[in-house]
Each structure stands twice: as structure tokens, then as C-alpha cells.
């Protein structure tokens, strides 16, 4: 390893360093995204916000059990027509006729996007939404109700130019318009 350590003589060293800096000054290798003006279109497997398929879900509470930060709570629901669920409060007068079930709700303030819940679901009912960079402004927004959770937060940069990243031999990462 001694050949790696061999010091370069100062004059060559200074000249080479300055030349390299100058090379990048005239031939910049820009890597950053012009962020809010251009945003990334997330790949399909990206672990961003996710929602649950109301019909597929069987209310087994596995996701609640596996959630490491304990962000998921199961809310009581009753099964309505076509497999869709209704709030438990809207149960008909005849309590026994209502088929009770449970549905998961994620507290976004606690969620760490590990996707354990997505993977533990025996019916594969969770699906990612392809949204990641959302800012919440109130504490209330972190804790959606089940109806809100079914429609997860929208992409705040919908209008900006969507790009995907691509590996580039010269620049490392380059961005091209999303298909």
C-alpha cells in the first residue's frame, strides 16, 4: 500500500488540484434536481404513502401486530354492500344483523415506511400510492380517519415537471422526463 501513500510534490499537486477544479468549472457535472420545479416520478416499488383496499381487507389485525412503531390502529367497521365497509356508528337498529369487522388506519406521524404491514397482509390488500414528499401542517392531519386514509395525501407537486433518474456513465445520475 506504500505506493498509494507516496506524496505528490507540492507544485504538481497544486497545479493538478487547480486544473481539476477549473475543469469542473467550465464543464460542470450538475447532479442536483431543480427540486420543486422538477420532481421525481417514483418507481412502482417505492415505499411511500400507502392505502388499503377496503374490499380485499379481511380485518385480521396482522398489520397492527407487526407494526414496529405501533402506528396502525384497527377501527371498528361494519360490512356494507359490495364488500365496502361502513362506519360502526351507522349500524342498523338490529345490531345482530350487522357483520362487524375492523380496518387499519395509519398514523402518518408515527409511520416509518418499513412496509412490514404491507408484507404481512395475508390477502395483499395494501397498495402503494407513489406519493412520498407530503408535508402536514397540523397534528390532526397526521392522524387520518379511516375515510381519509382510504384517500391518502395527494402529491403536492402535481404540476411540476416529472422526471425519472437514470444512471449515467459521465454524470452519475441524469434525469429524463418521465414516460
Amino acid at each position: 500500500m506504500s505506493e498509494v501513500r507516496k506524496p505528490r510534490d507540492p507544485v504538481t499537486g497544486h497545479i493538478k488540484a487547480l486544473a481539476k477544479g477549473f475543469k469542473y468549472l467550465i464543464e460542470p457535472n450538475r447532479m442536483t434536481l431543480d427540486y420543486p420545479a422538477e420532481t421525481m416520478k417514483l418507481p412502482p416499488n417505492y415505499r411511500g404513502f400507502f392505502t388499503v383496499d377496503d374490499v380485499k381487507c379481511i380485518g385480521c389485525s396482522m398489520c397492527e401486530m407487526v407494526c414496529p412503531p405501533e402506528a396502525i390502529t384497527m377501527v371498528p367497521r361494519i360490512v356494507g354492500s359490495g364488500g365496502k365497509t361502513l362506519p360502526a356508528e351507522s349500524a342498523p337498529q338490529d345490531q345482530k344483523a350487522a357483520k362487524r369487522t375492523k380496518r387499519p388506519v395509519v398514523n402518518w406521524g408515527k409511520c416509518i415506511f418499513c412496509y412490514f404491514c404491507v408484507d404481512v397482509c395475508p390477502v395483499d390488500a395494501f397498495r402503494p400510492t407513489g406519493v412520498h414528499d407530503v408535508a402536514f401542517y397540523t397534528d390532526r392531519e397526521y392522524r387520518p380517519t379511516y375515510e381519509e386514509y382510504l384517500n391518502p395525501p395527494e402529491d403536492p407537486y402535481k404540476s411540476s415537471k416529472k422526471v425519472v433518474s437514470k444512471a449515467d456513465k459521465k454524470r452519475g445520475v441524469s434525469y429524463e422526463p418521465a414516460p
Binding site: 488540484a17 487547480l18 477544479g21 477549473f22 468549472l25 460542470p28 457535472n29 442536483t32
Partner: protein
């Protein structure tokens, strides 16, 4: 009435002299531009955009203005245990003296009637040398250990780089046989520029410039990974802004001196001319452009270098740089003997 006209012209010219070249407006614009340029150059080398969103069409050039506005609306906090008056006055004095030095640096053949002097080189150099003393005062008055260490470092560096600075200027004084910038430029008009005549002195002055204005790799007094913000750790608001701007004013002054002493002054504009246009504006533009190139070169170093350690800087100040400056004086003497 008619005899007042020349007086009015002189007044206009003096006003131009103070306000435009090399004066207040230019330094304000240049400071804004050079800070922007510094950030942009660094951003180019570092594979990013740099300041952009403040004024997107012109590449974020108004970012520095926005920063200035932000500084001016911040709260100014005087630490309880600081030396109150010194704390408030010192940054102002530091800024003022670096500005005063500009008055003695003519950028054209025009002699100001307010500051006519045969000894402009000496005056400008003297004023520039005073500024670090107020920097030490800034560090001392803050009652902060980091500022204090920054002040000590400033003092050490001040002493070790003053001598090479004075010697390199002295070598040019010897060479040009004048204490006056205009005559020095005239000398270069007759022959070669000072850069060719005495490259050693030019190199010394460049190094001293980097050191005095705190450019990399001599960014030692405000080494942020050791001393937070160095001298200006306790400052806030506009006073912090002044602290940030002073090195750029000094950089401008140094670059003007450099372009007058080494880069042929206002060549290729005519050497002697009269009137505000030919006598002040055109040569002024030429000199400022040359100075700007020097400044751009120095701010480019930020993108290449980390910083030296204090003892390394002092050691090279007392060895290599001092040797270079002594050699430059000898070279000047030699050339003077030879040319005679």
C-alpha cells in the same frame, strides 16, 4: 458665473471619484456580484445550482441583496458580558478603514482635489494594514472563547504576513521609483507590466491577499469546524453582515492595488486624459474589470482547497513567503541597476 463652471466640473469629478470609481457604488455592486459569483463558482465545481430561486431569470444574482435585507431586519444582540462599546464600534471601524483605503487608490489618471497626494501607495497600504487591528478588537470584545481564539489567530497571522506584504509593495516602489499609483502605471505604460517585471512580488502579494481577506486555503480565523464563526461568533444582524462584507471590501482594495501595480493599470485606455469620461470612467472600468478577474481567481480557490493549520500558515509566512518577498526586493534592485 463663468468662473464657477470649472469648479462645478471638479465637484462632479470628485463626486464621481468618491461614489463611482473606486467608491461606494462600485464596491456595493461588486461585493454583491462577487459573493454571488463565489457561490456560483463553488456550485459549478460542486455539481449543483447554487443560489437560484431569489431571481431565477438572472441565475439568482439578487440572492446577496436578499441576504443583506435579511441581515438588516434581524435583531442585534449584544452579549451581556461583552465589552459593549467595543463590541458595537469595532466592526464599523473595521469596515470604515477598509473603505478609506479605497479613496487613496486612483483608478484613472484623474487626481482628486480632495485627496491629492504624492504618496497614495503608502496611504492605501497603511489603511489596509490598520483593519486587522479592529478585527482583533472584535474578537476581544465578544467575550467568547471562540472569538478570542479567532482574534489571537488573526493577530499571529497579521504579524507574519504584514512583512511580506510591505516588502512586496516596497519592491514595486523601488522598481517604479515612485510612491504614486499614477506614476507606477505610467512606468508600466512605457514598458512591460509589473507582473512580468517582478513576478515574485506579484506572487507574494497574491498570497498575502488570500491570507488577509481570509480566502481558502488561509481561512484560518473563521475556521468553522473549530471556531464556529471565528471573530464574528457572537454577532448578529447587520453587524454580522458587515463582518461578512469587510473581507470582500479588502479583497477589492487589494485587487485594485494588484491590478495597478502588476497588471498595467488602465492599459489599454490612454495614459493621460482629461474630463470625467476619459479621465475617470473608461480607465475606471478597465481597472475594475482587471481587479474583478483577480477577485474571481481568488474566490475560485474556495472550490479547490481546504484550509491550512495556523502554525503551518505562520511557518510558511515567515519562511517561504518572506523569502519570496525579500527576493522580489532584490530582483527590483537588480532590475533598477540593470536598466540604469
Amino acid at each position: 458665473m463663468m468662473e464657477l463652471i470649472p469648479l462645478i466640473i471638479w465637484l462632479i469629478q470628485d463626486l464621481l471619484y468618491i461614489v463611482v470609481f473606486p467608491g461606494l457604488v462600485t464596491i456595493l455592486v461588486l461585493a454583491i456580484v462577487i459573493i454571488w459569483l463565489e457561490r456560483k463558482i463553488a456550485a459549478k465545481v460542486q455539481m449543483r445550482f447554487g443560489p437560484l430561486w431569489v431571481s431565477k431569470r438572472i441565475g439568482g444574482a439578487l440572492q446577496s441583496v436578499a441576504d443583506l435585507l435579511r441581515f438588516s431586519f434581524q435583531e442585534f444582540i449584544v452579549p451581556e458580558k461583552s465589552d459593549r462599546w467595543a463590541f458595537i464600534v469595532a466592526p464599523g471601524l473595521m469596515f470604515a478603514f477598509s473603505m478609506i483605503s479605497l479613496i487613496f487608490i486612483p483608478v484613472g489618471p484623474y487626481y482628486s482635489y480632495l485627496f491629492p497626494s504624492y504618496y497614495t501607495i503608502l496611504f492605501s497600504v497603511g489603511m489596509i494594514i490598520i483593519t486587522p487591528i479592529f478585527a482583533i478588537l472584535v474578537g476581544w470584545s465578544s467575550d467568547n472563547k471562540f472569538s478570542f481564539i479567532g482574534a489571537l489567530r488573526e493577530a499571529f497571522l497579521l504579524i507574519s504576513y504584514e512583512v511580506p506584504f510591505l516588502l512586496s509593495v516596497a519592491s514595486m516602489i523601488v522598481l517604479y521609483r515612485t510612491f504614486n499609483y499614477v506614476d507606477a502605471v505610467a512606468y508600466q505604460f512605457r514598458g512591460l507590466p509589473g507582473l512580468v517585471l517582478n513576478p515574485l512580488a506579484a506572487l507574494t502579494l497574491l498570497i498575502v491577499m488570500i491570507r488577509t481577506t481570509g480566502r481558502f486555503p488561509f481561512d484560518i480565523t473563521e475556521a468553522d469546524s473549530e471556531l464556529v464563526m471565528g471573530l464574528f461568533t457572537e454577532y448578529s444582524a447587520l453587524f454580522f453582515g458587515i463582518g461578512m462584507a469587510t473581507p470582500y471590501v479588502e479583497l477589492y482594495a487589494f485587487s485594485l492595488i494588484f491590478s495597478l501595480l502588476f497588471l498595467g493599470g488602465w492599459w489599454p485606455a490612454p495614459l493621460y486624459a482629461h474630463g470625467p469620461i476619459m479621465g475617470l470612467i473608461i480607465p475606471g472600468i478597465v481597472v475594475v474589470v482587471k481587479a474583478f478577474i483577480v477577485m474571481a481567481l481568488l474566490v475560485f480557490l474556495r472550490a479547490v482547497y481546504p484550509r491550512y493549520r495556523l502554525d503551518q500558515a505562520i511557518r510558511s509566512g515567515w519562511s517561504y513567503v518572506l523569502l519570496l518577498s525579500v527576493l522580489s526586493v532584490l530582483l527590483s534592485f537588480g532590475e533598477v541597476m540593470l536598466l540604469r
